[in-house]
Structures are given as structure tokens and as C-alpha cells.
């Protein structure tokens, strides 16, 4: 066995390296730095179809992440999906007539919410609702439409 001093040094090194590895996993590998929304406020939006949108998905404006989706519920009165977003408090100047759209990053990527700014002077406050929304593009519907159009084109020629 080593003497007490060098043993303690080794154990100290080991524990420090382990904690460092944990910190690296949390900050460098994981998303601990970007996950938190600073004193955010909530905005709601109603969509006809949310597609594959998930809780925690990004809310972006001009491609920059400004918040995340905190809840997705079904509104049984309007037969629509109600999406609640947590937006960073630093971005409190989103015009009232902005529109929210569910977009897809890449062909097979995750779905996220993109906000197009409007022109009004009044800004969205905590608990407000987007007036204009654009639902998710459902690939199956598009494919179905294309096939239907093709079929109706070729039908009269026979």
C-alpha cells in the first residue's frame, strides 16, 4: 500500500477526473447550457394538426431558438391542438399579428415551431394566443393528394 499522502493525491485526482468527465458529459455532450429558458413567458397557439411535434421542441424566430414547447393538449371544444410555448424573457417584443408555423428541419428531421413576425406595434404578452397559425405538413396527405391528382388526370383520357 502507498503512504497516506500519495494515496490521497491519487484518490483526489480520480474523483476530480470523474467529476470533470460528468461535467463534460453535461455541458459538452448534453444540452445543459441551452435547455433553460430564462424567466420566460407563455404563449399559446392553436393548430389544426401538430403532426409529429413534441414537448421540448424548439421555438425559433429567424432560425434562432428563442424558447421551447412546454405542453401540447387537445382542445375538445374547437377540435384543435393547443400548443403552449415557453419563450425566453429577453425576446418580449414579438408583434401581436405574428404567425406560428410547424416546420420540419430537413427531410426527416425533428419538427419545430417557426414564428414569422408581423407588423403590429403591440406585442404578445404572457398567455396570449397566436392569431394566425400554419399546421404541420403531413407527408402522407401530400402523397395521397399527388396520387389522387394523377388518377383524376389519367381518368378522362381513357
Amino acid at each position: 500500500m502507498l503512504n497516506r499522502k500519495s494515496l490521497e493525491v491519487w484518490v483526489g485526482l480520480f474523483v476530480a477526473a470523474g467529476i470533470l468527465a460528468l461535467a463534460m458529459l453535461a455541458f459538452k455532450v448534453g444540452n445543459l447550457t441551452t435547455a433553460d429558458v430564462m424567466d420566460g413567458y407563455k404563449i399559446n397557439a392553436r393548430f389544426d394538426n401538430v403532426g409529429g411535434l413534441k414537448v421540448k421542441a424548439a421555438v425559433t424566430m429567424a432560425g434562432v431558438r428563442i424558447g421551447r414547447v412546454s405542453a401540447i393538449e387537445f382542445d375538445s371544444n374547437k377540435y384543435q391542438a393547443k400548443v403552449t410555448m415557453d419563450v425566453d424573457g429577453r425576446y418580449s417584443n414579438i408583434p401581436r399579428d405574428s404567425s406560428a408555423a410547424i416546420l420540419t428541419s430537413g427531410l426527416l428531421g425533428d419538427q419545430y415551431i417557426g414564428i414569422e413576425p408581423g407588423g403590429e406595434e403591440a406585442y404578445l404578452k404572457d398567455g396570449d394566443v397566436f392569431l394566425r397559425t400554419q399546421s404541420a405538413l403531413v407527408l402522407e396527405k401530400l402523397v395521397g393528394q399527388v396520387i389522387f391528382n394523377k388518377a383524376s388526370e389519367s381518368a378522362p383520357s381513357q
Binding site: 474523483v15 458529459l25 455532450v29 448534453g30 435547455a35
Partner: protein, 259 residues
């Protein structure tokens, strides 16, 4: 009739052992409080089971990461998504391979050593000697080793995952030409600190408790002969490996799926 008797004795023996092991765990946990005053005993064991296991963990972590990089690249490049290599390497390491492979190596390297050491102490009647001197061997010998293992295991798993990610980076970015920016950004977007990293840490902590528990119990419960110590060491490796793999499925199902 004889077969039935054998079956019965197997069942009774294993239930008895399980009961002894639980009582033993309770005694060790109850004795652990005494160690706060003599923490140096634990530090010594962290050295024995942690620092001395470091080399095998780091080398295996590096190679596992490098193999993941190679294999993942060859699969992902077929789908044109080689940029997700970082995500693949990090998720497989943090969620599964880090805790599980570390626990298996830990059982083989540190667990077997713990069992052999304690078993030999019992065989040479050192534990009985301590009792004669009114020293509780559970507090003086077992509890420091138990706590040392519990402290060391999550740190080892974190080191394994971290160096594995670096190994994947080495192969993916250095050798195969994946873009470094995409490698890290896809990883950071896809790996969640609570769902993935904290889960991995919880897994490795659970494995640490189970593996060290099995190791010290097998040593303490060993038949005090050289043969008995040998079979106890053997059982430690077999049981803790099986326990780790079985528990891994249960923990993954609990945290990942909605079962």
C-alpha cells in the same frame, strides 16, 4: 423423489442466502454511519477499487468509442446521415455502454478482488480475530469497501463515457472526415442532460451498489477454505454480471418505455 429433494434444497438454500444477503446489507448500511469519523478507510478503498481500475476503464472506453465510430459511420453513411455520428456515439455510450460495460469490467477487476480479499481474511480467521478484539469487522472491513465501490462506480462510468466520446471523435472526425461542428452540434441537440445523462448516472450508481454488494457478501459468506474462496470469487463475477444485465433491462424499461 430424490430430484424433488434436490430441487427443494436448491430453493431453500437460495432463499436463505438471499435473506442473509439482505440482513448483511442492512448491517453494512447501519455500520456506514460510523465511517464518517474515519473516512480515511473509505478513501483507501476508493483507491483500491477506483484508481486501480482506472486503466482498464480508460483503455476499454477509448476502444469502445473508436469501434462505435467506425461501425456507426459505416451504417450511417448508407443513409447519408454520417453527420449524426456524434449523436449515435454519445447516446449509445451515455445511455447503455458506459454504465453496463463499466459495471462488467468493475465486477471482473474490482469485485473479484474484493471477494478474494474478504474471503481470504475469513479463511485466515482475521475477521474472527477482529471480533475477539471487540472490533466489528463489518464496520472496519466491509463497510469501507462497500462505500468505496459505490463512490467509484459512477465516476468510472462517467470517465468511460467521456473518453468513449473522445474516441468516437478521434475516429469519426480525425480518420473518416465527419465535420467536427456537425459531430458536436448534433450530439448536443440530441442528448438531453436529464433524460440521457442523468439516467446513465443513476444506472451506474445502481450497478455500483449491486456489484459491490454481491462482491462483499460473497466474500463474507465464503466457505473459509481456498476452494471456497475460489468459488466465491467465481460466483461474484457470474452473479454480478447477470444482475447488471438484468437490471439494465429493467432500468431502461422503467425510464425509457411507458410500461
Amino acid at each position: 423423489m430424490n430430484t424433488l429433494r434436490i430441487l427443494g434444497s436448491i430453493v431453500i438454500n437460495s432463499v436463505e442466502r438471499l435473506g442473509r444477503a439482505s440482513l448483511f446489507l442492512y448491517e453494512v448500511l447501519a455500520g456506514s454511519w460510523e465511517l464518517l469519523r474515519r473516512f480515511y478507510l473509505v478513501v483507501q478503498q476508493v483507491y483500491a477499487v477506483g484508481v486501480l481500475t482506472l486503466l482498464i476503464i480508460l483503455v476499454s472506453g477509448l476502444f469502445v468509442g473508436m469501434v462505435l465510430g467506425l461501425q456507426g459511420y459505416n451504417t450511417l453513411v448508407k443513409f447519408g446521415s454520417a453527420n449524426s455520428l456524434g449523436l449515435l456515439v454519445a447516446l449509445s455510450l451515455v445511455r447503455e455502454l458506459g454504465p453496463v460495460v463499466t459495471a462488467l469490467l468493475f465486477a471482473g477487476r474490482a469485485g473479484s478482488a474484493l471477494t478474494a480479499e474478504i474471503g481470504l481474511m475469513k479463511a485466515t480467521e482475521q475477521l474472527a480475530g477482529m471480533e475477539m478484539m471487540a472490533v466489528n469487522p463489518i464496520i472496519r472491513v466491509i463497510a469501507p469497501r462497500f462505500l468505496g465501490g459505490i463512490i467509484a462506480m459512477p465516476l468510472l462510468a462517467a470517465l468511460f463515457s467521456a473518453i468513449g466520446v473522445l474516441g468516437g471523435h478521434l475516429i469519426g472526425v480525425g480518420l473518416l472526415g465527419v465535420d467536427a461542428g456537425a459531430f458536436w452540434s448534433q450530439m448536443q441537440n440530441g442528448v438531453d442532460y436529464r433524460d440521457d445523462i442523468l439516467n446513465g448516472v443513476i444506472k451506474s450508481a445502481v450497478f455500483g451498489v449491486v456489484v459491490t454488494w454481491i462482491a462483499v457478501f460473497e466474500g463474507y459468506d465464503a466457505v473459509p477454505t481456498s476452494e471456497g474462496v475460489a468459488s466465491a470469487t467465481n460466483r461474484t463475477v457470474v452473479y454480478s454480471s447477470l444482475a447488471v444485465l438484468g437490471l439494465d433491462f429493467i432500468l431502461t424499461a422503467l425510464t425509457l418505455g411507458d410500461i
